[in-house]
């Protein structure tokens, strides 16, 4: 693992890696056994932000991070969820056009391969899912929608995702689910946490 550590203010370091898989592995290891003083570990596409508090010092956190030897593959502890989807999204035809698949083949591809949450961002509980069928890689919509409803299931780049609540959004929408992915009364509040495996099924 080729990790570069960048200083990020007084109380954080940004660890940069070459591949998303390495990000996932480092996040897993840090989340399972956080170094002393670390209060937040935020994975993203190519980086892991590690925030700490005194009395922890940067040198100690940095060496602890660099000493991490991620285990190969995801641990079995993150869990798996099944999300039933009605595939009637406004962009389903466009996605079929962009991928060269039929609409039915898009559905088959989305449900055929399990996904894994790599990281969260954009909004509380918005998980970026990776590991799906590579034929589904599509660009974001040229213009974002002002209003995407909660439960909308979308694609963008190598990712799939479920909108946790109504918000603006630029992903290609292929369907919708009744599954609640964000509930502040639940513990944890997010269904799609880094490491969770996701299988989409077609709801009729």
């Amino acid at each position: 693992m080729n990790a570069r550590v960048h200083r990020c203010g007084e109380h954080a370091v940004l660890v940069e890696l070459d591949r998303l898989e390495e990000v996932v592995a480092l996040y897993d290891a840090l989340a399972a056994d956080p170094p002393p003083g670390v209060v937040d570990v935020v994975p993203a596409a190519r980086t892991v932000l590690v925030r700490f508090e005194p009395p922890a010092c940067r040198a100690a956190v940095e060496s602890a991070v660099l000493a991490v030897r991620p285990a190969g593959g995801r641990g079995a502890t993150s869990g798996e969820v099944v999300i039933p989807v009605v595939y009637d999204g406004d962009d389903l035809a466009d996605v079929a056009g962009l991928t060269g698949l039929t609409e039915r083949e898009v559905v088959a591809a989305h449900t055929g391969t399990p996904w894994t949450v790599a990281f969260c961002g954009f909004a509380p509980g918005f998980g970026y899912l990776i590991g799906g069928d590579p034929r589904l890689a599509v660009p974001r919509r040229p213009e974002a929608r002002v209003r995407v409803p909660a439960g909308a299931v979308g694609l963008a780049g190598e990712f799939s995702g479920v909108y946790p609540r109504e918000s603006p959004g630029g992903w290609q929408l292929i369907g919708r689910t009744e599954t609640v992915v964000w509930d502040i009364a639940a513990d944890p509040p997010a269904l799609l946490r880094p490491g969770v495996r996701v299988r989409f099924t077609e709801a009729r």
Binding site: V42, R46, R58
Partner: protein
């Protein structure tokens, strides 16, 4: 009212603050949410954390008790039950009118009584932007994900207080206040000098960019809020094109969009961002920046960033 209280079992009515007017923007804040960044949940909390901590210390509250963060004054609240309060951060003219109609002025960073039925009114601060009103016992609204902070970006946390809002006050802590007032520096009104640490993405900019950042002051524009302050000043030129994959952000980050004009992130900043961060403010200076008013000027200087950079 006392008869009703007696018939209800002899207990006092719950101590509370009744909001009469919130001013331009008042929110409930504490020190924010930790350990939820990986779920896309930001820290939020007081924009000037030092001022909130001081207010709580003056009242012998836990340092992270919830207070009201009042932007540009204008707040009016009435006490239910006898309360002990203090004001920190941006000093503003403040008066207490008791239930009998007598009005007196109260000081800044001093411990003041707000008797049952008394009204506290804040004027507009002459310096600084954010005033903290703490009450002994803390504002006791329900916690959301471990904090009572209102995150205006994600919408998490308690609703913004409005006229008629009742904010319950928690039980008084065991300790008692040991000081009547704290001698504190007031927010500066001239050019603010703020220390930054280079990185994490200063290598995305042309070699002279850090020098340009520090050469001339930046003006705080009106497009500034708890999420961040849009600054106007020397343009910071990128050395490379292309997209930066979104990465984790921290308060005090100076994020530079394609316009070359930096945004200084404050408490409600997005958890991740897709533009490179040229430098990050020192922690104490994030608090000072949060007191800068639109139109005020900021000058940066690079400190202590090189020593152990990799």
């Amino acid at each position: 009212m006392s008869e009703a209280t007696v018939s209800a079992g002899g207990s006092e009515p719950r101590r509370a603050l009744l909001v009469l007017a919130p001013g331009p923007l008042t929110t409930v804040q504490d020190l924010g949410r930790r350990r939820h960044g990986h779920l896309g949940v930001g820290r939020s909390g007081a924009a000037d954390r030092g001022a909130l901590r001081l207010a709580n210390r003056l009242l012998a509250n836990p340092e992270d008790a919830a207070c009201l963060e009042v932007t540009l004054g204008g707040l009016q609240v009435r006490a239910t039950g006898d309360l002990l309060v203090t004001l920190t951060g941006a000093p503003c003219p403040a008066t207490v009118t008791d239930a009998g109609g007598r009005t007196r002025g109260i000081g800044h960073a001093s411990v003041e009584r707000l008797p049952d039925g008394a009204t506290l009114r804040l004027g507009v601060p002459s310096r600084g932007l954010r005033t903290y009103l703490a009450v002994r016992g803390g504002i006791d609204v329900p916690k959301v994900l471990g904090s009572r902070a209102t995150d205006l970006l994600s919408g998490l946390g308690p609703e913004r207080p409005a006229p008629g809002s009742v904010l319950p006050v928690g039980p008084a802590p065991a300790g008692f206040p040991v000081a009547d007032l704290a001698p504190v520096p007031v927010p500066e009104s001239g050019v603010l000098l703020l220390g930054v640490i280079a990185g994490p993405r200063h290598d995305w900019f042309r070699p002279g960019a850090l020098a340009a950042l520090c050469a001339e002051p930046y003006e705080v524009t009106a497009r500034s809020d708890r999420v961040g302050m849009r600054l106007h000043g020397p343009r910071l030129e990128r050395a490379r094109d292309g997209e930066l994959p979104s990465e984790g952000m921290v308060p005090g980050a100076l994020q530079v969009p394609p316009s070359g004009q930096p945004t200084l992130f404050l408490a409600d900043h997005p958890v991740t961002g897709g533009y490179p961060v040229i430098a990050v403010l020192r922690d104490d200076d994030v608090d000072r920046a949060a007191q800068a008013r639109p139109g005020q000027r900021i000058r940066f200087r690079v400190t202590g960033g090189r020593r152990s950079q990799k």
